[in-house]
Amino acid sequence: MSTIKELKAKIKQLEEELALEKSRSTTKAEPHGPGRDKIAKMSAEVVDSNPYSRLMALKRMGIVNNYEQIRDFSVAVVGVGGVGSVTAEMLTRCGIGKLILFDYDKVELANMNRLFFQPHQSGMSKVEAAQKTLSFINPDVIIETHNYNITTMANFDNFMETIRTGSIDGNGPVNLILSCVDNFEARMAINDACNELNQNWIESGVSENAVSGHIQLIKPGETACFGCAPPLVVAENIDEKTLKREGVCAASLPTTMGVVAGLLVQNTLKYLLGFGNVTEYLGYSALQDFFPTMLMKPNPQCTGRYCVERQADYQKKLASQPKEEVVEEKEEEIKHDTNDWAIELVDETNPEDLVSKVDESLAPGIKHSYDKPVESKGEEASETVGHTEESMDDLMAKLKGL
């Protein structure tokens, strides 16, 4: 029989083990332990510890001149499924100011062929699971979640109100809504809300057979609204499939959804930060690698009352606006007033090397940036190394001894 002392020691040991186990399980349940703290201001400093250095480098590259403004923007993502979750992650990693997520579904194991969600999250609501992961990736992003179906009367008013007051400071509307839903009803609900609120949004979709998708920028009154072209829903062979809902009978691929989410967020960044051309419609057909783009004008006979009102507003606005003058951007020439040392730059590249011949084998619109210089035959201009009998070790020792 063990003594009291032995038993006490045993209890102590077990207590320690229990404490260790407990601390392990809490870190597992709450992945916020080893994450990072909030960062007050985006810095362009190039250090390993700066999560924004590569994004701010876009400024140095001359692509975006106001990247840090991304923190002032608020984006609503409706539908946090195969496209929406990836979209939300991309925006989070880009450091968007605020994300508002809407979804009423739960994470299921059947979702695991797509990106973002993980098996241990099954059973959790999608918005809750997404919020946890996203705020761990980037705690600077304000994430608001709404776990409900926007198409029902009980929730639609709240949805509208959230959009109307969803800006960073809460005094204005969200900057953009991204529709990542999988059915016609929800798209029409977003469309109705946006036409009524005069809110710009981008619709996205992946076909039920998983091999095509699209994004479409909708500016109420200016471009076609989602309800402007109802025959699309009925017509055969057009994007009809992209409008079907993605239920248990639909196929899905992480690739197509990732591509569409990428196109969607790229367009969103261009729209928000004002660089490049913002596309109004971009299709993606995976089987042919075909990316059609087009402009869609609003339908004057649209059955949506607010769409027709917005169209009238837009025409009025166009009529009242003076013609826009094209402002040419001039690149400032760098001038140096003093040059005491008479320093000048000498270009080492022969300009002829930069000119390339037209290559007939290339697709139209593509050219080589330079031609390979013709290999010179015969005598080299500079001396070449000779042959040696010395061993490798000798050579190494020789170099070292120099």
């Binding site: 579904d105 179906n149 198409t151 029902t152 009367m153 009980a154 639609f156 016609f184 009803e185 029409m188 609900a189 469309n191 109705d192 309800g227 109802p230 829903v233 009925v234 079907k244 809902r245 239920g247 248990v248 009978c249 059955t303 949506g304």
Partner: protein, 170 residues
């Protein structure tokens, strides 16, 4: 797409006149009345033709509907609960009729037991906005779905008659 029998059924369901959804405070009560009138007429027709197959009722504001539908096969009656919401976009989009107890039993169903209406019904609905109402959704949406799916589910043993189930329990 629509056969003669369905056409006859369809012609017996009064068409609606008011284009209004639940968010149109002024006109929705009118539309809701029309829905009820149309449904009542349809159920009466069914009874007269000895083809009574569903009952529906709604919440007071008419945005939430529930009831029962039944399918008769080999002299046995199989009964299922129905439920659906009237979406804010109604009548531009049709109601999404759900049979929750069949959720997960067939591929022609979405999560929560919403029946798959895409191919056989949605184009028809889209062409007939706002004349079609809940009665038409039942006749052209749920009706054909039940006629195809239930015999299949019974043959696969996924749906069993309630007496049969009771017998096993005892």
């Amino acid at each position: 797409m629509v056969d003669a029998a369905t056409k006859k059924t369809l012609s017996g369901i009064p068409l609606l006149k008011t284009k209004a959804g639940p968010r149109d405070k002024d006109l929705w009560p009118t539309r809701l009345k029309e829905e009820y009138l149309s449904l009542i007429k349809y159920v009466e027709n069914n009874k007269a033709a000895d083809n009574d197959w569903f009952r529906l009722e709604s919440s007071k504001d008419g945005t939430r509907w529930f009831g029962k539908c039944w399918h008769i096969q080999d002299l046995l009656k199989y009964e299922f609960e129905i439920e659906f919401d009237i979406p804010v976009t109604y009548p531009a989009t049709s109601p999404e009729i759900a049979l929750p107890e069949l959720d997960g039993k067939t591929a022609k169903m979405y999560r929560g037991g919403k029946i798959c209406l895409t191919d056989h019904f949605k184009p028809l609905w889209a062409k007939n906005v706002p004349k079609f109402g809940i009665g038409h959704a039942m006749a052209l949406g749920l009706g054909p779905w039940l006629a195809v799916e239930i015999p299949d589910l019974i043959s696969k043993g996924l749906v069993r008659h309630k007496d049969e189930k009771d017998g096993e329990d005892k």
